[in-house]
Symmetry: C2
Subunit: 461 residues, 2 copies
């Protein structure tokens, strides 16, 4: 029978291990499962139970948390049959069975892995198909990194039926603390929030690489440039978090390129499904997969700056201690600042429009992202204008074009590639062509106008 | 005094040498100038005269042809002062002077180098400023490669005042044979034609690289894929011309990457000046400058396929003799064919809209490009529909999206970058968002609609 104190935790990777060990403080009877033996031993050493199969793990558990790396692994854990040895904490039947069958009556399945938005619904349907309508399913992707995973302060975007989410709360609260967001829209809505957040986070990481490589090619002191750029309109949480990784040679993998290769793939797939053009997400994906093919998959994502500097991979690092910047450097820095600001402006709008298109409540989405790793100066400043329809931005589309042109021309002289800001300039010119040139820069959002008019109507005040 | 049989030819590079030696057959008294001594000796060996300075070259010449590599070199040759030794064919003054001053009365300056569109007008103004209003100036960029240069059958796009172009005809006819095009619009119009042609040629070269790298990553026999793809809607003159260079390991430089780095730079600069978004030209430029930075500048442009295959640079070459293609391969090839067709469709429209935007006569522009290296199946088939306004294409925007999606998803699985076709999919989705999904694919042109409505209105027939 289901033991309210028992949690089954499947997937003890970098994030999962921290989440599971944190849960041990509140659910001492937590059983972990992972295909990689060493992490299982570490978990038992930390005081948890170890299961050899998913079936064994879920046996007797009221809560079943998935933090494996993919949707395919979740389906395999739940629906592949294995011989139920009855070892570990459960009592086995000795016959071949699946975890879906072995789940206790009324067990609560909590899906924390980042998966395609339709995955949670697919799990629900497959459980119903095998007669497990009694089992609760909650779509609960997380964000925040390994430290917050171990602290139990992850941002979690929980969605599902009201009853299922309520049933999962005891565990969700322990993993998220005050950072639990309940998302309207049913299974998939939580994943949609995560997806939109990753649009921002993913583009911002590539933008940081594009900008810092440009700063280096302009001959700037990259340490100085980083500090100055953080003060400007092109700053973002990711810029502040990733750029320092380019400025030290510690070979440390803070976040692997593969994470964003996977997430941006989910995003562009979502864009195609929604029939929505995602210019910057697509351009970022090209850089990410090029990096993957070039062997950067398991390396730190800040190393993607090297994709922009094939002729001098370590230029950003080499220029951290150049001589004191001159006044000429200050104007060169302006070229980078304007480029960053323009990319972050369009990224903020691309993400917000995707969110609205997949049915998320725009204000809640903003409240979530503005406090998370996807935030940026532009997102915080311009999106409220987009949502309120009051375009108070003092800068017009044509003024952004004029600034960005100078940056693009300087990069052209240096033969430096600008996959993101080059795309942004085309989009801004498209908006200007449509007569939006004299409007506040937020009007770039009108590019995505559908036949039924704009998703976010607005005008200057 | 000006000798009607004398031509001064400045710039004896790969193209210029062929052009000048061909002119020798008709103007035996042709004097060449080049900063590189060996090519000068080759020219005298071929029967020409050699000048040590531009001043010396132009002395006594009725026709002065420039085929140097840049606008800066033309200005330097014409307006920098040098001591007039009076050696060579002219009679020197012994004083310091410039070629602009030394030009014979009524001399005809023919500018064949590819330069920014405003360059010819700048030359005209500078000549007027030094009191040489008597000198004729013709904007006459060329296209066709070294063989046609030596044959005297280059495509030449001549523009200027009617009188000046007429005055230059004796020489233009010898260089172009039946391929001389007189372009309306005055100085710069000829260069605009060349620029628009290079939009097509440049995008098509990068598209060939993107497509063949994709074919290789799909595991196809690349020789077979090349032959099959030529039969499809994604074929272009450049695809047929460049792809064979990827399939042989001859290390030969047929056309250096640097040529297109320069030309596409002129194009995107022109797009910015016209305030016109050029998505594919910009995306192609990112690939070109990345290639330049990676050390491919002086290499054959077909080698840019390696930029798409960082993990296996020679994959296209390695797979020229794979086993006989299976039926599975035929459906994989379809993925590449659809991708090529979609990119060539949008390239044809991007080029045509740029041409109209810079004031070129669309039908003449089409007549020129359809017979030149910039032509493609899509250009030949769809642009007449665009110009006539009768959209007879049987394929709708949504159908192109549906096909391209499958290709993009396959590339995503392989982690293969699609800077061009990825951009094209976003543009097609943008058109569909605007309610153009059920229209013939030519309707993608409506993306560039300005406030005054479409440059090329049209509807299905």
């Amino acid at each position: 029978m289901s033991d309210p104190s028992k949690v089954a935790f499947l997937g003890l990777g970098a994030m999962g291990f921290g989440m599971a060990t944190n849960l041990l403080h509140h659910f001492p009877n937590t059983t972990g499962f992972d295909v990689w033996a060493p992490t299982l031993s570490r978990f038992t050493a930390a005081g948890g139970n170890a299961a050899q199969t998913p079936v064994e793990a879920v046996r007797g558990a009221k809560y079943v948390v998935f933090m494996v790396t993919s949707a395919a692994q979740i389906l395999s854990c739940l629906f592949d049959e294995s011989t139920d040895t009855g070892t570990g904490t459960g009592t086995g039947t000795g016959t071949s069975t699946s975890a879906a069958t072995a789940l206790e009556k009324g067990a609560i399945v909590i899906l924390c892995s980042t998966t395609p938005p339709d995955h949670a619904r697919a799990v629900r349907q497959k459980l119903d198909a095998v007669g497990r309508g009694d089992v609760a399913v909650v779509d609960a992707p997380v964000s925040g990194g390994t430290v917050r995973a171990a602290d139990g302060t992850l941002s979690i975007f929980a969605a599902g039926t009201e009853a299922d989410v309520r049933a999962a709360k005891p565990v969700l609260d322990r993993m998220a603390g005050s950072n639990l967001w309940v998302i309207e829209g049913g299974l998939g809505a939580g994943t949609n929030v995560k997806m939109v957040h990753q649009v921002l986070a993913g583009i911002h990481v590539i933008a940081a690489c594009e900008a810092m490589g440009f700063a280096a090619r302009l001959g700037l002191n990259t340490q100085w440039a980083f500090e100055e750029l953080q003060r400007g309109e092109g700053n973002s949480w990711m810029f502040g978090n990733r750029t320092p990784h380019m400025l030290v040679d510690d070979k440390k993998v803070y976040s692997a390129v593969n994470n964003f290769v996977k997430d941006i793939g989910i995003i562009t797939t979502g864009g195609r499904a929604a029939g929505l053009p995602l210019f910057l997400s697509s351009a970022s994906e090209q850089v990410l997969v090029t990096g993957f093919s070039a062997g950067y998959g398991a390396k730190d994502d800040a190393e993607l700056v090297k994709i922009f500097l094939p002729n001098d991979l370590n230029l950003v690092l080499e220029q951290t201690s150049l001589t004191t910047p001159s006044s000429k450097d200050v104007s060169k820095l302006e070229l980078v600042a304007n480029l960053l600001a323009a990319v972050h402006l369009v990224a903020a709008i691309e993400a917000t429009i995707l969110g609205a298109k997949v049915g998320l409540q725009p204000q809640q989405l903003f409240d979530i992202c503005v406090g998370a790793a996807g935030t940026s100066f532009m997102y915080k400043d311009r999106i409220p204008q987009l949502l309120s329809g009051k375009w108070t931005s003092k800068k017009t589309v044509d003024e952004v074009i004029a600034e960005l042109k100078v940056s693009v021309e300087a990069a052209q002289q240096l033969k430096y590639p600008l996959p993101l800001s080059g795309t942004v300039l085309q989009l801004l010119q498209l908006a200007s062509l449509r007569g939006l040139g004299k409007e506040p820069d937020v009007a770039i959002s009108r590019i995505w106008d559908g036949v039924d008019g704009p998703l976010f109507p607005g005008s200057k005040v």
